[in-house]
């Protein structure tokens, strides 16, 4: 699929294709279209090439990322909701066992890290953990399987791993950041501003410096949270794409590529839950910090 038979001029084009999201957005009047023409008026459309995506700017949306993100969230909520609806105190069986194991695991983490009383923290942690896990899990599916199938159906671009889209990971991290700010004000009120102004140097003269330091530290949290997940999954995805390139290079290279693919997938099985776990733990830690007076 990776060679010219697959419709790609070279490896660079193949990689770029696999890193482009299915983007829906507005093209301003006068934009160049993929076929070389120029639009006379603004149009809303699904981008057909990389250039169009570039022209769309901020007010565009990655359909594939959103669909898979919502879909995986729905899988999580339906699976757990089904168990929740039939949850009983008797002897648990099958799926209830599985779901309760995860709930118990998350609950233990929350109890260990978060010492306040807030019934929302544990559900937030559970949602973060399972959703990130499922998103990462999509990375195990061979990179060409779903995109190529959809391409035959006329969908030009498709990325199935939401956590390789920085919009998605930063969006999730930003949601956590909003919660941090919300709880900081809710718990400490104006004490939160005071905390930002008078640490680490407790003196009036240092207030601007302190504010700068603390705000940078505060903003670094969602950035590091989102970019860590994105970086890990993006790099892994990139390696899967590079390995997939080998399948077009003759029988020996293809077999070697298959072995590499297997090895990387097995290694990746470790990364998937680990990144989900890190995201969850950091979420709990940040929210715990928001609740604590220093």
């Amino acid at each position: 699929m990776a060679s010219s038979e697959g419709g790609y001029a070279n490896a660079g084009e193949y990689i770029q294709h696999h890193l482009t999201n299915l983007t829906y957005g507005k093209l301003e009047a006068g934009s160049h279209l993929c076929d070389g023409s120029t639009t006379s008026e603004a149009v809303w459309k699904v981008a057909q090439c990389h250039e169009e995506v570039e022209h769309m700017g901020f007010w565009a949306i990655h359909l594939d990322s959103m669909i898979w993100s919502i879909g995986l969230g729905a899988v999580f909520l339906l699976l757990f909701g089904m168990v929740a609806r039939k949850a009983h105190a008797g002897v648990p069986t099958g799926i209830q066992n599985f779901v309760e194991t995860i709930v118990e695991f998350v609950d233990t983490q929350v109890r260990d890290i978060f010492h306040g009383r807030n019934p929302w923290i544990a559900p937030i942690a559970l949602t973060v953990f399972v959703w990130v896990f499922l998103s990462n899990l999509m990375d195990i599916i061979p990179v060409d399987l779903i995109p190529y199938s959809l391409e035959l159906l006329g969908v030009k671009y498709h990325k199935i791993v939401p956590s390789t889209d920085p919009n998605i990971t930063l969006g999730t991290a930003t949601f956590v950041f909003f919660l941090m700010i919300y709880y900081s004000f809710k718990v400490k009120g104006m004490g939160f501003i005071k905390e930002l102004s008078f640490t680490p140097f407790n003196h009036w003269a240092f207030v601007p410096f302190n504010l700068f330091l603390e705000l940078v530290g505060l903003l670094a949290k969602p950035f590091s949270l989102g970019l860590r997940l994105f970086g890990n999954l993006y790099a892994a995805e990139m390696i899967f794409i590079l390995i997939a390139l080998m399948f077009g290079g003759g029988i020996f290279i293809a077999v070697f590529g298959g072995a590499l693919q297997l090895a990387w997938a097995i290694f990746h099985i470790m990364v998937i839950p680990l990144q989900a776990f890190i995201f969850m733990v950091l979420t709990i830690v940040y929210l715990s910090q928001a609740h604590e007076d220093h």
Binding site: G57, A84, A122, I124, D165, L170, F175
Partner: protein, 156 residues
């Protein structure tokens, strides 16, 4: 790889996920788990209590058994004593009865002997009288000599 409105979409979508999870998913599961935990704790508790009760009952049974044994032994001993006493009493009674019988028999014998001796004495006096009559060839005045004969008989 562009930064765009997907970012805002994800924030909204994720907030909805969290809200649904916190409202409809987490509470029933947690409730069920806690209820089960309580049930198990109660079960273990009652099992402990039952074991303790059993131990207590065993103890009680042992105590009662040993008491019963002691009581039985006491009753047995008493019965033995009573039996011995009865035997002793019976022995004494028998001996007394025997003594009495022997004594009455002795008295009877004595009486018989006395009677026999009396008879014999009378018989001797008669025989003596008859002998004397025969020797003397004449009738002896019984009245005249009876006094002498009685004296003789008394000496026998």
């Amino acid at each position: 790889m562009n930064f765009n409105a997907t970012f805002i979409g994800q924030i909204v979508v994720f907030a909805v996920f969290v809200w649904i999870c916190a409202k409809f998913v987490w509470p029933p599961i947690m409730e069920a788990m806690q209820a089960r935990q309580k049930k198990i704790a109660e079960g273990l508790d009652s099992a402990d209590r039952a074991a303790k009760d059993l131990e207590l009952a065993k103890h009680e049974a042992e105590k009662q058994l040993s008491e019963a044994k002691k009581e039985a032994a006491a009753i047995l001993e008493q019965a033995n004593k009573r039996a011995t006493q009865l035997v002793d009493e019976a022995k004494v009674t028998a001996r007394e009865e025997g003594d009495r019988i022997v004594a009455s028999a002795q008295a009877e014998v004595d009486k018989e002997v006395t009677a026999a001796r009396e008879q014999l004495r009378e018989r001797i006096s008669e025989l003596t009288l008859a002998g004397a009559e025969r020797i003397l060839g004449s009738e002896v005045d019984a009245k005249k000599h009876s006094e002498l004969l009685d004296k003789l008989a008394a000496e026998l």
